[in-house]
Amino acid sequence: MPLGPRGELFRAVPESGLVVIRARALERRFGRKRALRPVDLAVERGQFAVVTGPNGSGKTTLLRLVGGLLAPTRGELEVDVDRGRLGFVGHEALVYRDLTALENLDLYGRLYRVPERRERIGRLLERFDLWDARHERAGTFSRGMLQRLALCRGLLHEPDLLVLDEPFTALDADGAALLDRQLAELAGAVTVLLSTHDPVRVERLATTRLVLG
């Protein structure tokens, strides 16, 4: 259910055990600057939650809090997913520029203990149209290719919770269509928390919407 102009909340917070992300009065400040106004949020298992709002409204901050990359200044946040079952795609690709696409994914595959790592990496690189560039350094990639590589990294370990911060950024039409298909496949099977400036694009998948103001 849509929400308040301040983005406090858009739906009641259920008390069921199915809730994967639960935030109460979650707030984050950097020094004196408030990056995220107090927000309540509940996302149940399998839901597709879309976060929208203008620049500076705190979308990225909220997603980094959920990802565990930031700690709240105030409020409560519970994320009922093991660290190894969370996939995170942020503004940066989080890959090493002097490693090839294959080496980057192999490193993360080892750290996430991905079974049948090489096969899984190969499938993802093919799906995101990076197979031919697999031996090229990530630093030579275009912004769109880096975003595809970031998506490969985020999906590599088949996460239960996928956090995507403006994932369509820098993707060309083909890349965006590819991501549309990927998200449609994941919808329902994986809990997704996605921020975007283009909510229309994911409207048909969204089960939950949060407007930050």
Partner: protein, 212 residues
């Protein structure tokens, strides 16, 4: 065993990055050799071997500082540290992998610096070699942690020496002592104790450096 598999994967990644980019090691090699050459000409002819031993340790510590300043650069440039922090591996494995890779770099530096010292100044004793190996371990343990702390700061180039050099003083004392003392075992034991204590502290505290 998965912990050590993670450490090995992370250390291998750092070695591969350096072999490919050659950002740090060549600069460190050039620096340590240049420093020894400068000291060779700066030191009066009758200064003696004791003064030269002190200069060797200065050269090694400042060369290590040069390398430590770049230690977390690959993670900083691409946000890859967030990727590592998100991974389910123990966060201390990130520190240990980086420290091991840095230890290898310092080993290469020492393998060049000690023969160069022998050419310019005086023969190198086994006590000096043992002291350098132990001091390198301490430098890697402490320096890797402090470099990670400094990497989060905008003034990292200033912060790292300010944090590192005071903590390197015991290493210099122990190293010089091992090189010139009649009882080097005492100083080598001191360096071993320093390594053990600080490695444990850094291993336990790295989690708090990379998380809020």
């Amino acid at each position: 065993m998965t912990y050590f598999a993670d450490v090995a994967a992370l250390a291998r990644k750092d070695l591969r990055l350096e072999l490919r980019a050659r950002d740090t090691l060549p600069a460190m090699l050039l620096f340590v050799v240049s420093t020894l050459v400068v000291f060779h000409f700066a030191l009066p002819a009758d200064a003696g071997e004791l003064a030269a031993q002190g200069l060797l340790w200065l050269a090694l510590v400042f060369t290590a500082l040069l390398g430590l300043a770049r230690a977390w650069a690959p993670e900083r440039e691409s946000g890859a540290l967030d990727g590592l922090v998100l991974a389910p591996c123990d966060r201390s494995a990130i520190w240990l992998g980086k420290a091991l890779a840095t230890f290898v770099f310092l080993g290469v530096i020492s393998a060049v610096a000690l023969p160069a010292f022998a050419v310019f100044f005086a023969p190198v004793s086994w006590e000096t070699v043992a002291g350098v190996a132990l001091a390198n371990a301490g430098i890697c343990a402490v320096g890797t942690l402090l470099a990670a702390m400094a990497a989060a700061s905008r003034t990292r180039e200033l912060v790292l020496p300010l944090l590192f050099l005071p903590l390197a003083i015991p290493l210099v004392v122990g190293g010089v002592g091992a090189s010139i003392s009649d009882d080097p075992g005492r100083f080598l034991a001191f360096l071993g104790l320093y390594d053990g204590v600080f490695a444990l502290l850094c291993w336990a505290s790295f989690e708090y450096v990379v998380s809020e």
